[in-house]
Structures are given as C-alpha cells and as structure tokens.
Symmetry: C2
Subunit: 216 residues, 2 copies
C-alpha cells in the first residue's frame, strides 16, 4: 500500500511518529505553516522516517520559490509546485536547487475542485509540455478524477503520482491506486480522528481490499 498522510494541523510530534510508522510519509502545507510556524514544520519532518512532502503549492518566479524552500532543504525531501508557472526562470531554478541537495520536485498536473476545469484542464496540452521539459520526480493528480491518473500513468510510466482527494473530497481509499497512482494522500479522515494512528491503519486495510479488486 502507499499512503501519505496530509498533516493539516499541528499534531503532536509523538502522533506524527506513530503516523509515519503506519504510513509511507507525511505532507504538510501552507495553512499549517501559517498556524504552527517554520520550526514546527521542521520538527514534524524530522520526526518522520518516511517521505516528507512540503506542499506550499509554489507558484512564483524562480528566485522567490528558491528562497521559500531554502530553510526546508535537507529536512523535507519532496517539494510540490504548480506546473502552471512554466520552466524558464521558474521551475527549472526550483528543480536545480531542490535536486542539488538530493530533494525531489513534484508538479501539480491537475486539481480536484470544480474550478480545475476552468483553466487547468483547458491548458492540459501546455501543462504536459512543461512537465516534459522540467521532468520532475513526481506529479499530483486528483483521486476524484481517475481518468486523469490513468492518462498520466500511460504517459509517464516511471514518475511517482501523488493523489489527494480521498475521504472528505469524495474518493475512496484504493481507487487512485487502482487507476495508477503511486501514493494516496489522506488528510482530514486521519488527522480529524480521535485515533489518527489507528485510522491510518484502517485506511491501509481499505486500500488493500480495494486494490485486490481493481477492475482490469
């Protein structure tokens, strides 16, 4: 199974250690940075043996994105940015900086909310061309739209695909894995549970059950 837990609030470090024993890693984001601060973000990542994804949905010019990730390099190992900003003077700078210290870049290929159809989907051809050019380690694609995951998996057999949208947003554990995702990202269902570590374990079981019955 392949589960990344979106730690969307400042859980205790002990809880994060427990989560990281059950799951493959954690992802933290901008609201938690604002609420808990850079120090907490670093402590959370240090508590986790697995994949540590910094999800600030970076979408700026190169120098600004590079300055933003600087304090996290070497502690977080995976960094999410928007393909929308393009390569030259933006993602190519970020990728060089992140990979210089052994980190990995993940680009948003598509989003899960209804507004994703207004511009992101309409620009799919240009988004894919940026992905080809930047050649990131991984992609983000929503579990709520498995046909997009299938398309990306066919096009990029060897890239990691990280898939949010499970639980609160509607997809069920295992559905994105069946479609070809490498990791499912689950947040509120786990972090909102009175027993986050046990809930992570239950999600894993559901992933396993679903994955044993993927439609061919």
């Amino acid at each position: 199974m392949a589960l990344i837990v979106a730690v969307d609030k400042p859980l205790s470090i002990t809880t994060i250690q427990g989560i990281c024993r059950e799951a493959d890693g954690i992802k933290t984001g901008l609201p938690t940075l604002v609420e808990a601060g850079t120090r907490w973000m670093l402590d959370a990542a240090k508590a986790c043996k697995g994949i540590r994804v910094l999800d600030l949905k970076l979408a700026d010019i190169g120098p600004v994105m590079v300055r933003t990730v600087e304090p996290f390099l070497g502690v977080y190992d995976t960094f999410i940015a928007h393909s929308f900003v393009g390569s030259k003077g933006a993602l190519e700078d970020l990728k060089n900086e992140v990979e210089r210290v052994g980190g990995r870049l993940v680009l948003v290929a598509s989003m899960s909310h209804p507004g994703a159809t207004e511009v992101y989907d309409e620009s799919a051809r240009h988004i894919l061309s940026v992905i080809d050019k930047v050649d990131p380690w991984g992609l983000v694609a929503p579990a709520t739209r498995p046909q997009i995951i299938e398309m990306l998996r066919r096009r990029y057999p060897r890239k990691a695909i990280l898939s949010p949208g499970i639980g609160a947003q509607g997809a069920k554990p295992g559905e994105a894995l069946c479609a070809g995702a490498s990791y499912e990202i689950v947040g509120r269902r786990i972090t909102g549970s009175p027993d986050p570590v046990g809930e992570a374990r239950r999600v894993r079981v559901e992933q396993y059950e679903k994955l044993s019955n993927c439609k061919p």
Copy 2:
C-alpha cells in the same frame, strides 16, 4: 505617485513605519513568512497605515486558501491569488471570505519571467474569463510587459492594477504607471538599500519624472 514596497525580508518595524510614510503601502510574501513567521507578518502590517498586501500567491482549493488567510484577515487588507485555479470551489470561496471582513482580492493576470509564456500567456483567454467571473478588486501584471498592462487597463478601466518587476527585474519606475498600472511594486532596490526610506522617496521622484513624460 503610487508605490507599494515589497518587504522581502524582515526589516525592523521602525523601518516599515518609515517606508509606509513614503509609499502607499507594503506587500509581504511567502519567503518572508517562512523566515520571520506569522507574528512578524502581522506586526509588519499593523505598523503600516497604507495598503497591506499579503502575497502568498495562493493557488489551492477553496478550503485550503481560506484557512491560509484566516489569521491575516482584518490586519492585511489585500490578498493575492492565482487566477489559474479557477472560480468554483476555489477563488469564489476565497473572495467571499476576504470580502466578508472588508478585504480585497487581487488576481495574478500575468507574470514577469520567461516561463510565463509557456502556460500563463497561452491560457490568456481562460484567465480573463476567470477574472470576469470572480470580479476581483485588482490584478497583478508585470511592469516588464507594458503591453499586457495596457490591454488589461482597456478591458478593466476600474480595477486596480499592481505591477511588479521594477528594478532588479528590469523595468524602470513610472513605466508601468504610464502603461496604466495603479501601483508599482518595488522590492530589492528599496529593501536592499542602506537607507530604505530615502530610497523609497527617490523611487517616487523617478516615478514622477517618468509619468510627466508618458508617451501618449
């Protein structure tokens, strides 16, 4: 003249007060949030009588953007987000939340770096349609590309246009104003000066000189 200073490092609160007497306001961003923390970001805005722009280049689903700005509402008055995430389930939620407390939304219409041509420009038609739908208070458009400012000014006579890219990125003070921008955003030239307040005053003088000689 119309000048917003991009406070791109944690200057002293006294310096920020001085800058806000010379300029119309300040803009702070993600690298400074990471470096200095939410408390400093709030203190900086409280020290400023003018426009207080929070520039996190928000580009996520609605609930995440709303949670991100929550602690800043009522202290910052202007919030920058990316138009490419679309309205439904994203920018419409953010706009409602920001305007509920009298704040203003500003959408990125175009960017200044070479990579902006790879997707952002190619998607201009869809970006403009999101701007029409969301109807934000203002737009961001780069001083390095005055023809885009002119187009936006013709299309949106009453929206504020905030224009970065002056100084380090190549445009000269006043050029964006000549093209129709409402505010020029200047960062490193002012914050990197040994006398930031005096430098803000000098930028204003240059804006005035240029604006007196706009080509018709």
